[in-house]
Amino acid sequence: MHLENASVTQHRPVAGAYRELSFETTRIARETRPGQFVHIRVPNLGESVLRRPFSIYRADGAVISILYKEVGKGTRALARLARGDTLSALGPLGNGFPTPADGALPVLVAGGYGVAALYLLAERARSKGVLFVGGSGRQDLLCAGDFEKLGWQVVAATEDGSQGFKGRVTGALDEWVKSGLGNRTPEFFVCGPMGLLRAMADRAKALNVRAWLSMDRHMGCGVGACLACVQRIRLPSPPGAWKWARICRDGPVFEAGDILWDDREDG
């Protein structure tokens, strides 16, 4: 975990409203594992007191990058950064994804910017698997080509049917499951909106397989000190018992079966 002033090396549109922001941060880049995130202090953001968390999309030599879209004032200010500007980066944070289990088929499921958390996993996994990626139209299918280049199978789902399966990504997945799954046990790695995470938790339970879910939550410190980002996690016993885990430090990835879903969650 490091606090570094990082210099922007590249800032480019990716697809749809998404942009990739790359910056040089030697120590963070070197230590990053798949599924970890970086907590960014956005420059020129007036009196904003909080950093903004983003999955580390790529880590290459001394440079890491994030994949983001403008959703609020922090990301709007990010979008104004240019090559040579500096930002403060805190990371790599969290535990990230476990290494895919030997023998199982790694199945990545991404919604929205979820692909960002999954790319390094695909890049570094010992065996190749399948990526399910969804969007409203083909322009939203973020980075699908990059996964293909790594030799992964990509199953796309678009709501307008402009590419791949017409419908949601879970629909495409259900079809694939029905068609027999290949002959390996899948192990799911999921990043996306809460609805997708819950849907995948249900499917993993039904299939009795593991699903690793990367969770989003509004964050304060990012290092486990403030207890803002907590998630209820089941305890083995007694039944119904639970404890809080800190998404920033104990997560952001949890095994679906450990999560005690709340009816009211932010993010």
Binding site: H2, V49, L50, G220, C221, C226, L227, A228, V230, R264
Partner: protein, 311 residues
């Protein structure tokens, strides 16, 4: 008073009998129990560590969402989640004892008895320099703010703690009072060795789309730069009203705000929300105070405390 060579001002001072190498602490609840930030900054350079509030029993705290950024600050409603006395002592005291700086433990309870009881237990724990008595948390239903908002109740809690421990005690007062001097005097008279000012402000945000409160706890506490000027006023008033030292907090983002507090009469300061913005804030504040003293030819930080000029 030492008279250090020009250019190397003396930052040390004693507060509530605790010797501090510099007057800059980290505020309760914003720095966990220490290890969380240990990879990022050298904790031994801090004036002191104030840990997250501890109660006798473990506490689950509030449901989520617990935090929200707002203009100039943030709202939090953590609800004093903590592992409870025993687990805290077992899990964190070994680490904290390994540090070379004073440790201030923030404690709270739901009844006056719980406060006294917990203080007595800490009396027997080696490595604790002082107790900060939180009677101003806006985020729990019972206890917390209800004690701090009434000078008589505040005095009752402080007296109970006073009787239960030989450790220095530092009540932490709320900002939403119409009479800070009276509240500070009540705390002093009840046996406080120093006073911490201020906790976060009771506040609230509503999601206009759903028409529901944004925080699961409905209300939360406002902290950060937004409250700084209010805190300075309260610290100034309290410092004039009592003889015991004041530890000031509220919206410190860099050296300037800390120096303001010291000039207003605080003997020490604590960095809270800014630890989230920049984990190195407290270190920046320390170096900034050192630089300010050197530039202004002020030999010791003690000469700065309460040096506000009104004429």
């Amino acid at each position: 008073m030492t008279n250090p060579a020009a250019g190397s001002p003396d930052l040390s001072l004693a507060v509530a009998g605790i010797r501090l190498q510099n007057p800059v602490m980290v505020a309760s609840g914003t720095f966990g129990y220490g290890p969380e930030f240990a990879e990022l900054i050298d904790l031994n350079r801090l004036g002191a560590i104030v840990v997250k509030g501890i109660s006798i029993e473990p506490e689950k705290g509030n449901p989520t969402p617990r935090m929200l950024e707002v203009p100039g600050g943030l709202l939090n409603a953590i609800g004093l989640q903590n592992p409870g006395f025993e687990k805290f002592v077992a899990e964190y005291m070994p680490f904290l004892r390994g540090l070379r700086i004073p440790l201030i433990v923030n404690i709270w309870g739901r009844t006056i008895e719980q406060y006294g009881n917990l203080a007595a237990r800490f009396d027997a724990v080696p490595g604790v320099s002082a107790l900060e008595i939180n009677i101003s948390c806006p985020n729990i239903k019972q206890g917390g703010l209800t004690f701090g908002s009434d000078p008589r109740l505040a005095a009752a809690v402080i007296s109970a703690v006073r009787k239960s421990t030989r450790l220095p005690i530092i009540p932490k007062l709320p900002p939403n009072t119409s009479d800070m001097p009276a509240l500070a005097r009540a705390a002093e008279d009840a046996g406080a060795n120093a006073i911490s000012l201020v906790n976060s402000f009771p506040a609230m945000a509503i999601d206009i789309r759903t028409r529901r409160p944004i925080l699961a706890n409905i209300t939360g506490g406002l902290s950060g730069p937004a409250i700084h000027t209010i805190a300075v006023k309260l610290v100034w008033e309290a410092a004039k009203a009592v003889r015991v030292p004041i530890i000031a907090m509220g919206g410190i983002a860099g050296p300037e705000e800390a120096i303001e507090f010291l000039i207003a009469g605080a003997s020490a300061v604590a960095v809270g929300t800014a630890n989230f913005t920049d984990p190195a804030t407290a270190l920046r504040v320390i170096e900034g105070i050192r630089g300010y003293l050197a530039e202004n030819g002020i030999p010791s930080v003690r000469d700065l405390v309460g040096s506000l000029r009104l004429t």
